[in-house]
């Protein structure tokens, strides 16, 4: 069984005014929004550009707005957002420069993730040492950018480090035993456009598809920064 669907796609090409294109497609209701977008590209409009790779919410590349909410379109079935004969609106993430159509520029985002330096997959080699039974090598964050799109502060201050990098900083701080590394992370985040810029709206935590809870982590870093200040008064190293 297939459904008749209308896709309204936000279009943008450099040097041209943004517009919205409407496409009619037939799709099995159990296929995803990303399947719909790929089908439009394959069958109707080869100029449509979009980011995607894994199609199972691990790579983080396909994040977009669908019906005005941030989603990973690869795991949202069309029947979850519309009905037979219905419409789905898709557009690029907010708060990122748009490169073309649904493609946004992730350059600054990855630069900040690299500054923090938290590996998303920890070093693991069972040939050298057997992992523990409850072993988890992956960090949850898939670097999709959804939390930045949802954040009201990122919208007004492009220099703000943003929820994903701050959440990574929290993990890197606590994963490290090295006091220099801890200090480096604190220097990076304990400043005006770091942890203190957050308005505690918790939009990032609500939007994150991967249960990272960036807002909770930012609050954790704030407590840590305060504790470290007190310790410094007593001549102690950062905890």
């Amino acid at each position: 069984m297939t459904w008749q669907l209308t896709f309204k796609v936000a279009r943008y090409k450099p040097g041209e005014p943004p517009r919205t294109d409407t496409f009619q497609i037939e799709l099995d209701p159990e296929r995803t929004i990303l399947d719909g977008v790929e089908k439009i590209w394959a069958e109707q409009d080869r100029t449509l550009t979009f980011r995607h790779a894994c199609h199972h919410a691990s790579c983080g590349s396909c994040a977009i707005m669908a019906n005005d909410v941030e989603v990973l379109p690869c795991i949202v079935e069309v029947n979850q957002v519309t009905r037979n004969g219905g419409t789905i609106e898709v557009g690029p993430l907010h708060n990122f420069p748009v490169v073309s159509d649904l493609v946004v520029d992730m350059g600054t985002f990855f630069e900040r993730m690299q500054q923090v330096g938290m590996p998303i997959i920890g070093p693991t080699d069972p040939l050298d040492n057997q992992p523990k039974d409850d072993f988890h090598a992956y960090e949850n964050c898939i670097e999709c950018g959804i939390c930045l799109s949802a954040c009201p502060v990122v919208a007004t201050d492009p220099t703000y480090l943003g929820p994903a990098a701050l959440a990574a900083a929290y993990r890197q701080y606590h994963n490290s035993d090295d006091s220099e590394e801890k200090q480096r992370i604190m220097n990076l985040v304990d400043r005006e456009n770091g942890i203190w810029r957050c308005h505690v709206a918790y939009e990032c935590t609500a939007a994150c598809p991967s249960n990272v809870d960036p807002a909770g982590k930012i609050m954790g870093l704030r407590r840590q920064a305060t504790v470290n200040r007190v310790r410094k008064l007593f001549g102690l190293k950062p905890a």
């Binding site: 995607h52 199972h56 069972p126």
Partner: protein, 393 residues
């Protein structure tokens, strides 16, 4: 004599930024060539990004296709050293759940020994202690050094290193034609899908790494390669129910492997052939087969919700109509000068993401030989940059 002074003179265009094209670009750049990578979509938006994420130990091939198995274990051991950030080295089990599987165990172990795959036998209770969600019917298992990678990040890692060595990487640029003069490919016609501009890029040599679309590229030069687009379905379940990769201890078949990645367990895969791999309609019965077969090893997979269902096509070397499972999984580099009398044009196809580095080594050796250069490959020893550097270089 410093050979890279010579290689710098040559501009090599690589078509496709899947694992094959990305690894080829890295190898070429490391050997000093001037490199441009053209990819019509995002990095890894073809087959690579959507594959099963298994860093093969070779176990899946050690009985029936030992050449592939040897390739896999060799590359597995190299990749875990040069690219640690893009993979989880968690290991894998081959699990027996019936007498027929147990009867296969001896040939499996002989296969591991013949191909040099380290292994360890586990009895049923050891296996279920390691993996509590394995079926109660489990009779025994064999451990091998499988791993799990992030295919997109692997490609980005290769490309970051290529960029560091001067390569130009151009996503959203589609190759629309090849210009052939006097039986030699001299330039590539491209269409930039962002700006809409069409242009021509001169090339001393073109490497076609377009995966299941390789045939569309060779058509542009009036030659033909026997690459068959052979899709498979995968179902990613909500929740991670094994820490190690779980394979069925038997001859490869549909739905016989569960790959844990992040917080998901991915069941795969199946096999059929298509003419056009741009949009793949998934057969409902293949999806059902994933639940049915996957749950024979791990019954919980029948009870939990799917998270993502997807399919993607292998670029296998063979002809449509041949039995897909019999088509060899190893790779082949076609020099169109020998084969079809067209100079300056090489196609690399087949293989796996696990063997991308070796595929690249073989291909760039062919490129060097064609240009009469002797530059040794150094990718085995070269630590790759972080995938994040793809965006920051």
């Amino acid at each position: 004599m410093n050979m890279s002074e010579h290689s710098q003179k040559y501009h090599v265009v690589v078509i496709g930024a899947g694992s094959t094209g990305a690894a080829v670009a890295h190898d070429l750049a490391l050997r000093g060539f001037k490199v441009t990578v053209l990819e019509r979509g995002e990095i890894a938006s073809g087959t690579t990004g959507r594959n099963h994420c298994l860093l093969h130990s070779g176990g899946r091939y050690c009985v029936k296709d030992q050449e592939s198995a040897v390739e896999c274990i060799e590359e597995n051991m190299i990749l875990r050293k040069i690219m640690p950030e893009a993979m989880e080295l968690n290991g894998g089990l081959f699990v027996a759940v019936n007498d027929e599987d147990m009867a296969y165990k001896q040939s499996f172990i002989e296969g591991c020994e013949a191909t040099g795959i380290p292994y360890k036998e586990l009895n049923a209770s050891e296996a279920r202690r390691r993996e509590p969600y394995l079926s109660e019917k489990t009779l025994g298992a064999v451990w091998v050094p499988d791993g799990v990678f992030e295919p997109m990040r692997m490609c980005m890692s290769f490309l970051a290193s290529a960029k560091q060595n001067g390569a130009m990487v151009r996503p959203y640029v589609e190759v629309t034609g090849l210009q052939v003069e006097d039986q030699r490919v001299v330039a590539v016609e491209v269409w930039d899908r962002i700006s809409g501009e069409e242009s021509v890029i001169h090339a001393d040599l073109v490497v076609n790494a377009a995966g299941p679309w390789a045939g569309m590229i060779t058509d542009m030069a009036g030659v033909d390669v026997p690459v068959v687009a052979t899709p498979g379905v995968m179902v990613s379940m909500t929740g991670r129910y094994c820490q190690l990769v779980v394979n069925r201890l038997n001859v490869s078949s549909d739905g016989d492997i569960v790959v844990p990645q992040r917080e998901t367990s991915i069941i795969g895969t199946s096999s059929w052939t298509v003419e056009d791999a741009d949009y793949i309609e998934m057969p409902e019965d293949h999806i059902q087969m994933m639940y049915d077969r996957g749950s024979e090893m791990m019954p919980i997979l029948r009870e939990v919700e799917p998270r993502g269902i997807f399919a993607v096509a292998r670029p296998l070397i063979g002809r449509i109509g041949e039995d897909e499972r019999e088509i060899a999984r190893t790779f082949k580099c076609f020099d169109h000068a020998d084969r079809d009398g067209v100079e300056g044009f090489v196609t690399i196809a087949g293989g796996k993401t696990t063997t991308a580095r070796a595929m690249a080594e073989g291909t760039v050796d062919v490129v060097c030989a064609k240009l009469d250069l002797e530059i040794p490959c150094a990718t085995k020893e070269t630590q790759l940059l972080s995938y994040r550097a793809y965006y920051t270089i």
